[in-house]
C-alpha cells in the first residue's frame, strides 16, 4: 500500500500547534513521509489521551517506513525470483558498470545499489541511488521493471 501525506494528515491533531517545529500539520505529514521527522516529534499526539486511537493508527500506518531504506525502497524477498531486471536497468549501474550490469551480467563493481544474492535482490549501497541525498530525483526504473512488486517505494 502506498502512503500519501493526506492520509497521514487526516490522523494528525490538525491544530498547527508548531510544537514539532513545522508551521503546519500538513508540512509535518510531508516530513514524516520523507523521514525528516519522527512521529514522536508530535508532542500532543503522545500527551493528549484523546489522540490515542489516532496515534495507534498512525504508528501502524508508518510501519513500512521503518522497513524501507533511506530512499523509500522496500524489498519483499518473498516475491522476488532474482530475475535481475532491477540490477540491469538501474541508470547508476549502467553508468558505473558498463561491462557488468549494463550488459546484463551480475554487477562487477564492489558497491552496486542492488545485487542478487542467494536468489533474491538485496540492497547493498543505497547511498549511490539517485533518490538519495539532497539533490535526489524520484527515479522508479527498478520498480517499473519488477512485475511482482517485490520492489516498491513508499510513495507507491
Amino acid at each position: 500500500m502506498a502512503l500519501n501525506p493526506m492520509d497521514i494528515y487526516k490522523l494528525l491533531p490538525k491544530t498547527n500547534c508548531k510544537k514539532c517545529g513545522e508551521a503546519t500539520c500538513m508540512s509535518f505529514a510531508f516530513k514524516l513521509l520523507n523521514r525528516e521527522k519522527r512521529l514522536e516529534d508530535c508532542k500532543p499526539l503522545y500527551e493528549d489521551k484523546k489522540y490515542e486511537r489516532q496515534r495507534k493508527k498512525l504508528e501502524e500506518m508508518l510501519k513500512p517506513l521503518e522497513e524501507a531504506t533511506e530512499t523509500g525502497l522496500i524489498v519483499n524477498e518473498d516475491l522476488c525470483v532474482g530475475c535481475g531486471n532491477c540490477v540491469v536497468v538501474c541508470p547508476v549501474h549502467v553508468e558505473k558498470d558498463p561491462k557488468g550490469a549494463a550488459v546484463g551480467n551480475g554487477p562487477t563493481i564492489d558497491d552496486p545499489i542492488l545485487r542478487v544474492e542467494d536468489g533474491v535482490v538485496k540492497v547493498i549501497n543505497m547511498q549511490a541511488c539517485r533518490r538519495y541525498g539532497k539533490n535526489r530525483v524520484l527515479c522508479v526504473v527498478c520498480r517499473e521493471n519488477c512485475p511482482t512488486d517485490a520492489i516498491r517505494f513508499l510513495e507507491g
Partner: protein
C-alpha cells in the same frame, strides 16, 4: 569461484560463489547451488536399498530381458552422457526420446534444418529491436532471459536501453508477469487462439483485414525499422497452435518484410543438446527408433507408454510422474522402470531400480547446449565418480 548454472537453458555464466553466498543466480539457480545435497537418490532395487553396483547389475538384467526397451529423459545431463545414451539405444535396438517430443522439439528441428533463420542470444543482446515472447513467460521459466540477453541489457548496436532501443511484444492467453512488463514501446497481445494471430500476420502482410490487424500492423512497422528482430517461442506457442508448420511459414514470410530470427525458449538446461546429439547421429531430433531406423510420432515416449509398446524404460534425469499427464505416467506401473537421477524424484520412489547419479554441472563436468545452440563447458564444483557417464558406461559393459 565463477560457475555456470545448469538450472535452465540460459546457462548463466556469471554465477559467483564467495564466502558462503551465491551471487547473481536467480531463485532457481540458487536452489541448485545452495541445496544440491538435499533429497539425494539412494540405490534401490524393488524398493530395497542396495549398493550402486547391484542396482546397475539389475538394470542390465532388465534391459537384457526387455523385448522393447526405451531410453528417455536426458535433458538435464551433459552432451557426453547424451552421446553414450544414444549409443546404448543403438546397441539395444531401442527407442530413444526426451521431453522435447512434447515440448519444443519440432521447432528446434526446424531451426537445425535451417527452415527458420536463427541467431545467438549474444546477437540478440547486441542487435535486436523487436523482441517477441510468444507463449513464453521467461519471468518464471527462464528468469534472467530478459535481463541478460534480450530486452534489458545494453547492446553494441542497442546502447540506449530498453525504452528507446527495444520494442517488446508479449503474446499470451493471460496477463503473465512478462506481459506486465510490456509498457512503453511495447505491446501485449492477449490471444485466445494463437492461430488467429498467425492468420492476422499473414493477412496484414497481404494488406487484408484481420482480427489483430491493428496490433500486427504496428509490429510489422516496428520490424521494418530494424535489421534484427527476434521471436522467442515457448510451450504456449507449441500448445496454442495445432500446426507448427504454419508458424515456420510465418517466420519465413516475415523475413520478406524485415530480418526476423527465431530462438526456442525451452526450459531444460540441455534439451537442445539432446536434440543436436541425436540429430547429428540420425537426422532426427527426438522420438527415434533404432529398430525402425526412423523417427515417428508413435515413437514418442509418451505414445509408446500409452499404447503399451514398450516393456522397459531407462529414465535418465527426468521425472515423468511429476511432468507427464497422469493417463500416461500411470502406465509406468505396467513396465520395468530404471531411474538414473541425482534426486529421489517422485518416479524414483516407484521405480523398479534406482541408480543415484551426480548433478550435471555441479558434480560432473561436461558440455551443455544453450537454447540458442551455443555450446558451453561446465566445470563441476566437486566431481562425483558415479555420474551419468559412469552409469551408462557400466550398463553398456554389462550388456
Amino acid at each position: 569461484m565463477i560457475m555456470i548454472c545448469p538450472g535452465c537453458s540460459c546457462l548463466c555464466d556469471d554465477i559467483t560463489i564467495k564466502d558462503g553466498k551465491i551471487f547473481n543466480a536467480c531463485r532457481r539457480g540458487e536452489e541448485i547451488f545452495g541445496r544440491y545435497k538435499e533429497n539425494r537418490a539412494r540405490a534401490m532395487v524393488d524398493g530395497k536399498e542396495v549398493d550402486v553396483d547391484a542396482a546397475i547389475g539389475k538394470a542390465v538384467e532388465i534391459l537384457k530381458e526387455a523385448k522393447n526397451p526405451a531410453i528417455y529423459g536426458l535433458d538435464t545431463t551433459v552432451v557426453e552422457a547424451q552421446k553414450l545414451a544414444v549409443e546404448l539405444a543403438e546397441k539395444l535396438n531401442a527407442y530413444i526420446d526426451d521431453n522435447s517430443s512434447f515440448c519444443l522439439g519440432e521447432l528446434v528441428e526446424a531451426v537445425l534444418k535451417k527452415e527458420m533463420p536463427t541467431a545467438t542470444l549474444d546477437d540478440v543482446r547486441d542487435n535486436a529491436y523487436v523482441i517477441i515472447y510468444w507463449g513464453s513467460n521467461p519471468f518464471h521459466s527462464l528468469p534472467r532471459h530478459m535481463s541478460r540477453y534480450s530486452y534489458y541489457p545494453r547492446g553494441a548496436k542497442r546502447p540506449r536501453g530498453y525504452d528507446e532501443d527495444r520494442y517488446l511484444v508479449v503474446v499470451d492467453v493471460r496477463k503473465s508477469e512478462t506481459a506486465v512488463l510490456a509498457k512503453k514501446n511495447a505491446k501485449f497481445i492477449q490471444v485466445d487462439d494463437d492461430a488467429e494471430l498467425v492468420d492476422s500476420f499473414f493477412k496484414a502482410m497481404d494488406g487484408k483485414a484481420a482480427k489483430y490487424a491493428q496490433d500486427v500492423g504496428i509490429i510489422l512497422n516496428e520490424m521494418k525499422k530494424a535489421d534484427f528482430n527476434v521471436i522467442f517461442g515457448g510451450l504456449g506457442l507449441k500448445y496454442g497452435l495445432k500446426d507448427l508448420k504454419m508458424f515456420v511459414e510465418l517466420v519465413k514470410k516475415l523475413n520478406e518484410v524485415a530480418p526476423v530470427y527465431f530462438i526456442p525458449a525451452g526450459f531444460h538446461a540441455n534439451m537442445r543438446g539432446f536434440n543436436e546429439t541425436l540429430f547429428e547421429k540420425t537426422g532426427y531430433v527426438n522420438k527415434y527408433s533404432f529398430r525402425d531406423g526412423s523417427s515417428d510420432d508413435s515413437f514418442a515416449f509418451t505414445e509408446l507408454l500409452m499404447n503399451e509398446k514398450i516393456d522397459a524404460a531407462l529414465i535418465v534425469g527426468t521425472d515423468p510422474i511429476y511432468s507427464l499427464p497422469h493417463d500416461v505416467s500411470a502406465k509406468l506401473g505396467k513396465i520395468k522402470t530404471i531411474v538414473v537421477d541425482p534426486r529421489m524424484s517422485f518416479t524414483a520412489r516407484v521405480a523398479d531400480v534406482v541408480i543415484p547419479s551426480a548433478i550435471s554441472g555441479i558434480e560432473m563436468s561436461g558440455t551443455m547446449v544453450r537454447s540458442d545452440g551455443v555450446r558451453i563447458k561446465l566445470e563441476a564444483i566437486e566431481e562425483r565418480e558415479v555420474n551419468d557417464i559412469h552409469i551408462l558406461k557400466k550398463i553398456m559393459e554389462g550388456l
